[in-house]
Subunit: 164 residues, 2 copies
């Protein structure tokens, strides 16, 4: 599979999973997750975009340690995706306008003009997924894919079953 | 809330979520997640137990960097739990016997006598959860709790809304 095929497959897998868990590492080395809405999208460049409060704790964690994981879980379909990537705070007004939806005022009551409204871009470096054709846990298999930006995919190492 | 209350609440939140995502850090600093079955249980001591292949990649990662995150996602109920903890490989035969279920032969075809069958114990150090009374994303709120082993809970810092 080419990188485009991998990306297409990944985008298909996550398109119905609005909320994922974003895992960051704090200064003490502890790993924290929190639910974030990706609107079910990984963009055609392989980036995942999240709205964030510019002064949130996770932003300060990411500025120190930008390596993150984004996991998508759809237990009803025994479908799981793990994305390893690098996160960056983006304050681009044009991008905010492009991605903003009116319902986001639930989290940002002052609307998108609020200077605290910013974006986190997670650039995919590697991804793995587990996709089962059946809802029975026992049949959950792992088909692992690798998405590497700027490096050759290391498929041999990553194509493995790891659901145990 | 006391630690026991926190733990009771957490156990209640995850009891119907069999599969969670276990995030580890590799030597290069990349974060990886994979689905793991906790059988919907955090035990009364605040430990999460997973069966694992003793020579799996995640075990070697954990031996070098034992800090992990375990995230539970129940999107239908807009319920999300993040557990930060320390993972350790446990080869105790008695514990393996206690936790083993016949259906695990799907992952360990040779059964529990296979010397490759081992346990990962994740000792909870901190937990956060987001639990919504409604299935509407817009009403998803964050009620954050802190579970600290051997340290005082730092409730002031952690009781916050972080779903943005």
């Amino acid at each position: 599979m080419t990188r485009d095929d991998d990306l297409k497959k990944l985008r298909e897998l996550v398109k119905d999973i609005d909320f994922c868990m974003l895992t960051t590492t704090d200064e003490g080395g502890d790993l924290h997750s929190r639910p974030m809405s990706s609107n079910g999208d990984i963009d055609p460049n392989g980036d995942i975009w999240f709205f964030t409060n510019a002064s949130s704790l996770k932003v300060s964690e990411i500025e120190k340690l930008p390596k993150v994981n984004v996991s998508f879980a759809d237990p009803d379909n025994q479908r799981y995706v793990s994305v390893s990537g690098t996160a960056q705070l983006v304050r681009d007004k044009g991008k905010i306008d492009e991605l903003w939806r009116p319902e986001f005022t639930i989290w940002f009551p002052k609307g998108k003009e609020d200077p605290e409204v910013a974006l986190l871009r997670v650039s995919l470096e590697k991804a793995e997924y587990w996709d089962s054709p059946s809802s029975t846990i026992g049949y959950a298999l792992s088909f692992v894919s690798s998405l590497v930006t700027g490096k050759e995919p290391d498929m041999g190492e990553n194509r493995k079953v790891d659901l145990q």
